[in-house]
């Protein structure tokens, strides 16, 4: 059973389009995260939700909007995609916010052309 799943795994789209990435965890965790990994493998936190409440909102363009319909799901919607948005996006979850180990999804490779 997949603990943290993301769809789609690959996403190729043109500049200006709007796209969404979905994430689900079946671990019963309270906290979920979105990360962006660039071509140099640097991992940057974007957002975090704890029990559907936004607790981390890093400096990302407001074209990025997370949505958590319930604590098992955290989706990422991106408006007006730009070339610089090309990256791998990872969803993760942890038992609670703060210092617990995190469980990562397989990633979504977004390519904007």
């Amino acid at each position: 059973d997949t603990a943290v799943s993301q769809t789609p795994k690959y996403l190729v789209t043109q500049m200006g389009n709007d796209k969404s990435i979905k994430c689900e965890q079946n671990l019963g965790h309270d906290t979920m995260y979105w990360y962006k990994q660039d071509s140099k493998k640097f991992l940057k936190i974007m957002f975090s939700y704890n029990n559907k409440e936004l607790i981390i909102n890093e400096t990302v363009p407001n074209r990025f909007s997370p949505k958590s319909p319930d604590k098992a799901h955290l989706n990422l919607h991106i408006n007006s995609l730009e070339l610089g948005d090309s990256a791998v996006y990872f969803c993760a979850s942890s038992q609670a916010a703060s210092t617990y180990e995190q469980y990562f999804g397989p990633g979504t490779r977004l390519t904007v052309t």
């Binding site: 993760a92 916010a97 180990e101």
Partner: protein, 111 residues
């Protein structure tokens, strides 16, 4: 913000050898964690060491933590080709709801 930094950045070793990588950080932490990322995959949690611990083992992995030097090391003993991956350290500290990831070490184990 706090950031782990691994050193060295890339390591190439023969199967059976040991691989050691280091991580340094800047401020007091609650714990330090190591993760592995295989090519094209998500990160996998390997081991967590708390600030009051000095050494921890898990299988072929040994992690040390020196809070006075604000550094940690990850040792992989008797490496295997399947250990080829990027290894990241991440620091967690009280009052903050996030992990700060380092830049990662690429380890290549040659069969």
């Amino acid at each position: 913000s706090q950031q782990g930094e691994e050193d060295p950045q890339a390591l190439s070793i023969q199967e059976g050898e040991n691989a050691t990588m280091n991580c340094s950080y800047k401020t007091s932490i609650n714990n330090l964690q190591w993760y592995r990322q295989n090519s094209g995959r998500g990160l996998v949690h390997l081991i967590l060491i708390r600030s009051n611990e000095r050494e921890k083992h898990s299988g072929r992995l040994r992690v040390t933590l020196d809070t006075s030097k604000k550094s940690s090391s990850l040792l992989i003993t008797a490496s295997r080709a399947a250990d080829t991956a990027s290894y990241f350290c991440a620091t967690a500290y009280d009052g903050n709801n996030r992990l700060a990831f380092g830049k990662g070490n690429q380890v290549v184990v040659i069969p």
